[in-house]
Symmetry: C2
Subunit: 319 residues, 2 copies
């Protein structure tokens, strides 16, 4: 069975993280992933701190295993959410959309493991110096906020630049992607879109179904003009957003238009007017099953892929 | 040693292709790659048919091994270049920037293997029906013309959709990338940027040096407004092009501005005013060496990575 330093560091069975998605990373999903042997994450997104505290407590009621909170640093409540994470002594904190450097000592003092999400070598280097425990290295194929570099190009460049354990994210939906990430030098993987299509995820059934029916070119990136580009399934909402950008809309107008749209899409199931954040692996996902099964199947498939490649190298058997 | 169906199909030692880059895919590079056990490609780009014929003859003078011609279907000379490929009975033809479906029977009649470059599942499916021999599946991290989907997300989706052998391209610069591509289900890899930094490549030494000094975020994509986006190292030329696009320049103005810029950059070595097409793996490339050594080192590294992953799975040794 595949074991890596990520398993030891975070005290988990399989080196499989669930991305801390806003609205979808609730206690239901985070606890199911952690109970399944991976590492579940509550996604704080733009939620108020007390919502996050409730999710932490609900997660603890459902599992005694480690879990994390993903703090979105652009949130108006980021400071208060971090305070809750500190008070609750959540086992792991991930951070997105920024540099959590100044908070690192506070987390470490309380024994909280810190694993920021990074999209560039420069930020990876800075955060290693700041004392974080590991890094999620995320490529542009992921859903939600995206950087500029793909997972395949970015992971080995970060591996060569820092000494930290690395979890690869973006573009990974099955065991082939997991084996590829390990080949690139990562010690674990993080999956978001795959866990939306998980029995325990609170996403609206229509949104889950839309992912099951998605093809390779189903997603688009909008928001370059805001400085915070986002990947989502293309629909009326993304087309309107892109048209506003093209017409030169102000960032404030775009933000006002975007407000409430993620919840409308992923929770209320409005597939045309809501934002349906998802990654380019949407086209790979064909079924909804419990988190535990997703995790075990991905790890088993990754192991089978590695065995197959090994035989290929040994014997000259043709792939 | 890693052998795949790609080796048998194209009668080569290693499943490693050289991308057929305009101006750089000359007889010097193509023959060096083929002599090194991979599959070298002459890049027809926008060159006249007689230049392509000369390169074919020069390549034959340098190697008796198989090689190919990459036909850029947007070229004004595409038809004439295809005629030369047919007359010269080049062993392999690759095609880029379009659908070569109608030409496939003509190539097949003459025993020419056909391996188009595709960036989507839909085109992969159409070309399988058209009777091509294999596909190069290229992600958005590649240099030059780019699609919308990353290699990590696209390759497994194409693998699941067609029965053809697949060569992965985009984002692959070393043996880790090759092992990852094989894990995704590809039977070979194609490298462009890595072969620019090859002793035999006619690229200007200053351009090679700029790749050696590039970081992860060194490239940008311009040309979305023309319908043919291109990835290149960021410089004065890409900034000017992007500014023209932002200001609403016509496609004809953009094309006029772009004319001659690739040669100016990659052959004449004008690093500011020329176009320096390169992929996101530029940041991974640290040395210039003969094509033969590049190929052997990549294959040896891929094999070492696979052995390491196998041990990891067998024994619980930590990565």
């Amino acid at each position: 069975m595949i074991k890596t330093t990520i398993c030891d560091l975070f005290n988990i069975e399989y080196p499989v993280f669930q991305g801390g998605m806003a609205w979808l990373g609730t206690a239901e999903l985070a606890s199911a992933v952690s109970e399944g042997g991976g590492l579940g994450f509550i996604g704080a997104g733009n939620a108020p701190a007390e919502w996050v505290r409730q999710q932490i407590q609900n997660t603890r009621a459902r599992t005694s295993r480690p879990f994390g909170v993903n703090v979105m640093l652009l949130s108006p409540y980021a400071k208060e959410v971090i305070q809750v994470v500190l008070e609750e002594r959540v086992p792991v904190v991930a951070t997105g959309a920024g540099n959590p450097g100044s908070w690192v000592p506070l987390f470490k003092e309380r024994g909280i493991k810190v694993i920021p999400v990074v999209a560039s070598v420069a930020l990876a280097r800075r955060l290693e110096k700041a004392g974080v425990d590991a890094l999620v290295v995320e490529g542009i194929e992921s859903g939600g906020h995206v950087g500029e570099i793909t997972t395949l190009a970015l992971v080995p460049q970060v591996v060569d630049s820092v000494g930290l354990p690395i979890v690869a994210a973006g573009g990974i939906g099955d065991g082939r992607g997991m084996a590829a990430a390990l080949a690139l030098g990562a010690q674990g993987v993080q999956l978001g879109t795959r866990f939306i299509c998980c029995a325990e995820c609170v996403a609206h059934p229509h949104f889950k179904e839309k992912i099951l029916n998605a093809r390779d070119r189903a997603t688009v990136v909008t928001g370059h003009t805001t400085g915070h580009p986002v990947r989502a399934l293309e629909n009326k909402m993304t087309r309107q957003f892109a048209a506003m950008e093209k017409a030169g809309a102000l960032v404030s107008e775009l933000e006002a238009f975007g407000t409430g749209k993620l919840r409308l899409g992923v929770i209320e199931g409005d597939l045309e007017n809501g934002s349906l954040m998802a990654g380019q692996v949407a086209g790979l996902i064909k079924d909804i099953k419990p988190a535990r099964d997703i995790i075990r199947e991905i790890v088993a498939e990754a192991e089978a892929v590695i065995r197959h490649l090994h035989v290929l190298g040994l014997s000259g058997v043709r792939a």
